[in-house]
Symmetry: C2
Subunit: 243 residues, 2 copies
């Protein structure tokens, strides 16, 4: 099939990766660097993204972009907003960059976010200057990507309260404290360990395994898994109005 780009429509991907070792919620960003006559014209970071091809769905574009950068497929993906302000690519650095890259100044982007584990991504051979940054300590960002990230993060914060997407950021086998640490990272709050533990263990879709942590230098913790099957079976909308 011929790959014909739609020149004014792109998909940008906010890739959230949780590093369970350092307990850090990170974003995967791409280096944007341009110099001319020893003068640095552009030196910052952007989200990974690409034009939509004429034959593909927006979801397909997002999947493709993630795969090209990380090799990963089947990660949690959500389209959360379209950004199409006429001036969104119009800052001086962006204009220089776009001249160099030959794409359309009036591009609307459909933004997605992905949830995955940093450990699943191998960046050693990547040629994009891709790197992880803690979500609360980001470098200078090009285009309107700071805003896009901001809105993705807000959506993630909200969604993780009502849907079990948190487990997409964790390994298949995790401890209760892993989950608590991650909630605390995402939401920037402190949670009472006893209450949290009770709450989670009481869920039927949080299943205690016959396994404990290995290779830790302290008391090894009980491992659990999340059962999507049980969750889906149990799930029923509750119409609790809380305004």
């Amino acid at each position: 099939m011929m790959l014909e780009k739609i020149l004014n429509i792109s998909v940008d991907c906010v890739v959230f990766g949780y590093d369970i070792t350092s307990k850090s919620l990170n974003l995967l960003l791409i280096k944007r660097y341009l110099e001319s006559n020893n003068e640095v014209l552009v030196d910052d970071y952007v989200l990974t993204g690409y034009h939509v091809y004429t034959h593909e769905t927006l979801d397909d574009t997002a999947t493709r972009v993630l795969k090209e950068l990380t090799g990963l497929t089947n990660q949690y993906k959500k389209q959360f907003k379209a950004f199409g302000n006429p001036d969104r690519l119009m800052r001086p650095k962006d204009i220089i960059w776009i001249e160099n890259e030959a794409f359309h100044l009036r591009t609307t982007t459909i933004a997605y976010y992905f949830l995955l584990k940093t450990e699943d991504v191998d960046l050693t051979n990547n040629t994009n200057g891709a790197a992880w940054f803690p979500v609360n300590d980001l470098p200078e960002l090009g285009f309107d990507h700071k805003q896009i990230i901001q809105e993705a993060y807000e959506d993630l914060k909200e969604k993780c309260l009502s849907e079990p997407i948190i487990f997409k950021l964790l390994p298949d086998k995790f401890t209760i404290n892993d989950v608590q640490d991650l909630y605390e990272s995402i939401l920037g709050i402190e949670i009472d360990n006893r209450n949290f533990r009770r709450k989670l263990i009481n869920k039927k879709y949080i299943i205690a395994l016959d396994e404990k942590q290995v290779g830790v230098s302290k008391k090894p913790a009980q491992l659990y898994m999340f059962s999507k099957d049980i969750y889906d079976k149990m799930f029923q909308k509750n119409y609790l109005i809380s305004i």
Copy 2:
């Protein structure tokens, strides 16, 4: 300013209107009709929408589209999803229609929904064949607009549980039972009147007015208003994890 359309990007508007008299949640749709040699080629309904102009934001496009159809501005508006499947305008009727209208077969649309009161809209002079339809009894729809409506409605159902957007569908002065009726319409559930009443009246931003209904043929009910000011002041995120 010159009005130059972006030919492959549009905004479609799902206009929810609540008719408090008939207690009906309605959608505002546009007639699509085309015949040739006495043969009816296209006869169905679509959402109101239009291309994005090069100089305007997506939000501006949505606002403009609503204004052109209804004359209304400053209504609650939410961008909820972009639809860009390559085949979304490719059903036979859609292709006939698009030939006739001369727009792009590979158009991505940014979908918004609006919340307003049917009584605020005057359709008597409208030339689009616009009409209200109960959200659960829609006519045949063109393009992928059935799906767009479906997703808008799902989003509305979810949002009305956690944000006070329900009041955008009601007049400034309403009774407790009005609110209950509307929740029941939107969610398709039954709510216990005593519990609901207590819950709502206890909110500090639901303010009892010194007024009762007039012109009703039964016992007139107490009127209330919603104070956005008080709501905003009181509001603080609660990080209740309910997965």
